[in-house]
């Protein structure tokens, strides 16, 4: 197994491609290449919005046997992420968790935790400590 995929993966989902990509850039600056990372932003036509197919593809790109933590902005991002996780199918769907945390801070803190080799539950808990 390559060292990259040994760490928990991070997926960022925003209604805006610019926000999603920008947050991913900040994560990359923090942890470099040692955490699998992908983002999905915008609807199927590239406008503001979210879509399950794009999120599913992002989870596949950031896939890690250690699991994937997903960060979302507004309602539709969460609902479409849930749908994408279901479509991933068992048993992998059980290893993907949507974090109840702020998108940017959550993703950066989770990635820092993941880069040290922390397990999925630990990565998620670290991000969720941001949300009282």
């Amino acid at each position: 197994m390559n060292p990259k995929s040994a760490n928990v993966g991070i997926v960022i989902v925003s209604h805006s491609p610019l926000v999603a990509q920008g947050a991913a850039d900040m994560v990359r600056q923090m942890v470099g290449d040692c955490v699998p990372l992908a983002w999905s932003g915008g609807n199927a036509e590239g406008g503001l919005g979210t879509h399950a197919a794009g999120i599913l593809a992002a989870i596949e790109r950031a896939w890690s046997e250690a699991g994937v933590a997903v960060f979302v902005d507004l309602g539709g991002a969460e609902t479409n992420s849930e749908m994408a996780i279901e479509m991933l199918g068992e048993p992998r769907s059980g290893r993907v968790i949507i974090c109840n945390a702020p998108l940017v801070e959550g993703a950066v803190m989770a990635a820092a935790e993941a880069s040290g080799g922390a397990a999925l539950a630990r990565v998620v808990a670290t991000a969720q400590e941001l949300s009282p």
Binding site: N43, A44, H51, G75
Partner: protein, 206 residues
Amino acid sequence: MLVVLANAALIGGLIDICREVIAANADHLSELDRAIGDGDHGTNMRRGLEAVYAERSRLAYLPLPKALEEIGLTLVMSVGGAAGPLYGTLLIETGRQLAGSGDVDFPRALERAIDAVARRGRASAGDKTLLDVLYPVHAEVVRRAGLAGVAEQAERAASLTFGMKAMRGRASFLGDRSIGHIDPGAKSCALLTAAICRFLEEQSPA
């Protein structure tokens, strides 16, 4: 009802009329969404129905439960917003319930599918969502109201969301200011229900 429905002309016809009613009302739906949301409901739904229409010739030759499930999956993959997962769940679950081994009739399948939509959206009756149309429609189906009655009830139910305060989705950020607008999801649901009822009425033998 199911026996009548299970053929290519009917599945294809249903796809056609749903696509038509959404295309004809897409601007209006986006306008309703602009008032209390992000203004994309009409374009999102139109994109979804166009994606379904693009697969029409394949979908029409599937058994009805399978067709419903696949139409739902197509909507999930193409609509986006909250509407994609919600309409997708409704159709996927209706199809799966009808295909299941148990003796599940249409009203029972619809009931379970609506419950799945409520879980997916973490919403309940009165939250100003498409559930406020789905629940009354199901009640009419259960009491075996005629197709015209179901259509009328759907339209009436959508109008009633005007006075509701949104509890889910982006409209909920507006609090009391969401009152005084029809919910776009409830409206699209009523338009689709009414179009489907009209179509089925035209198909049924006099």
